[in-house]
Amino acid sequence: MSKTFFNGIYVVATLLILGLLAFKVFQPIQVLPRMRLAPAYSFIDQDNQPLTSETMRGQFTLYSFTYTNCPAPCYNSNETIKEIQSRIGEVQLNGIPVSFVTVSIDPDRDTPDALKIYGESIGADFNIWKFATTTNKELLKTVVGSGFETYYEDKGDGNFALDPGFVLVDGWGVIRAEYRYVTEVSDADRILRHLGVLADEAHNSVGSAKLAYEAAHLFLCYAP
């Protein structure tokens, strides 16, 4: 009896370890990390309407940073968002809305009117793509620089040093992905895939399946 018991224990331990290894290696569920809280803000958008972090609760928001006089890097960012905007139907979002918020770091020149003209010129759908800023430059620096960890600096000659990139925030206001550089696949492909991963988690992570999703977070089963 005792031999049977101990054999059973060994088998159980082996099966558990194999199961955990299989979960880690094959990653049947993939997630995006919950990196940190997105900063709270109160901006004015291109229609002169308030746009706050609370407005974006309950939806996935892709943030980008620009100024309307910005040369090539911002243009490339806009092209990526335009591609995502046109291909968003490819992603199974389970009814969760997606928005894009492009934050201007140049509030002196980028008034709501200027942002509206800029948005129209690049083909933005203002229903889902907002352009916003605040004249409170200190708070803007806090939100963009410290909160979204996007470096920018006013060069004083009408130009800014800016590290372009994207930040993806979930409906709880948690930063789930940052895109600081162009990867082997295009940012648009990657961001669209990540939106699908977020939507899957939001939809499926209930009841006992929530345990599996938490295990995926625990074992760092992150979507590439």
């Binding site: 059973g8 224990i9 558990l16 709270a40 909160g147 206001g173």
Partner: protein
């Protein structure tokens, strides 16, 4: 022989079930954050002078943003946190609750100290200038703005009503939504204190 096989299978199944049960991840009642860096350190003013977040390294810190004139959400949340700490017993010595007032016009450090003591004697109330609060609140994901109230209440402050939990090293680990119960808070804190 058949009995041995049956027993072996039974032991394996029972063991697997027990293993899965005991090794299952703790189900948190809030959103778990896997922050790779410590949270923003800040210094605000309490009744005994400057209070910095880093003063509490080594303790688990709960931060709640609110104000003393808050009619319902703040007292409900703070009451739940106070009850959770009482449920923790002596383990509550390893937990520090900070209430950050978003209403420095009306909430003096003295008034804040009296207010938070109603919920638990260990709570610390702090506030600062509008500029300081703007920065701290933003970096902790707390949106707030003044809104009109009644003659009786004066102005109100709409604010994000989440409760934030930082570990002993100052890393944000958990965000409780509004409505979390004292049992749920105590359950998660007990688990985190064991880590």
């Amino acid at each position: 022989m058949k009995l041995k096989v049956f027993l072996s299978v039974f032991v394996v199944i029972l063991g697997l079930a027990a293993g899965v049960y005991f090794l299952r991840p703790h189900t948190f009642h809030g959103t778990v954050i896997q922050s790779p860096e410590p949270s923003f350190d800040f210094t605000l003013t309490g009744i005994d002078g400057d209070v910095s977040l880093s003063d509490f390294r080594g303790k688990m810190v709960l931060i709640y943003f609110g104000y003393t004139f808050c009619p319902d959400i703040c007292p409900a949340t703070l009451a739940n946190v106070g009850q959770a700490l009482r449920d923790l017993g002596s383990k509550a010595d390893d937990v520090q609750v900070l209430m950050v007032s978003l209403d420095p016009e009306r909430d003096t450090p003295e008034k804040l100290a009296k207010y938070v003591a109603q919920f638990h004697p260990s709570f610390v109330g702090i506030t600062g200038s509008q500029e300081e609060l703007d920065k701290v609140a933003s970096l902790y994901g707390i949106f707030y703005q003044k809104t009109e109230g009644s003659n009786a209440t004066g102005y109100l402050i709409d604010h994000t009503a989440t409760l934030l939990v930082l570990d002993r090293d100052g890393y944000l680990k958990l965000v409780f939504p509004f409505g979390v119960t004292s049992d749920e808070i105590a359950d998660d804190l007990k688990y985190m204190l064991r880590q």
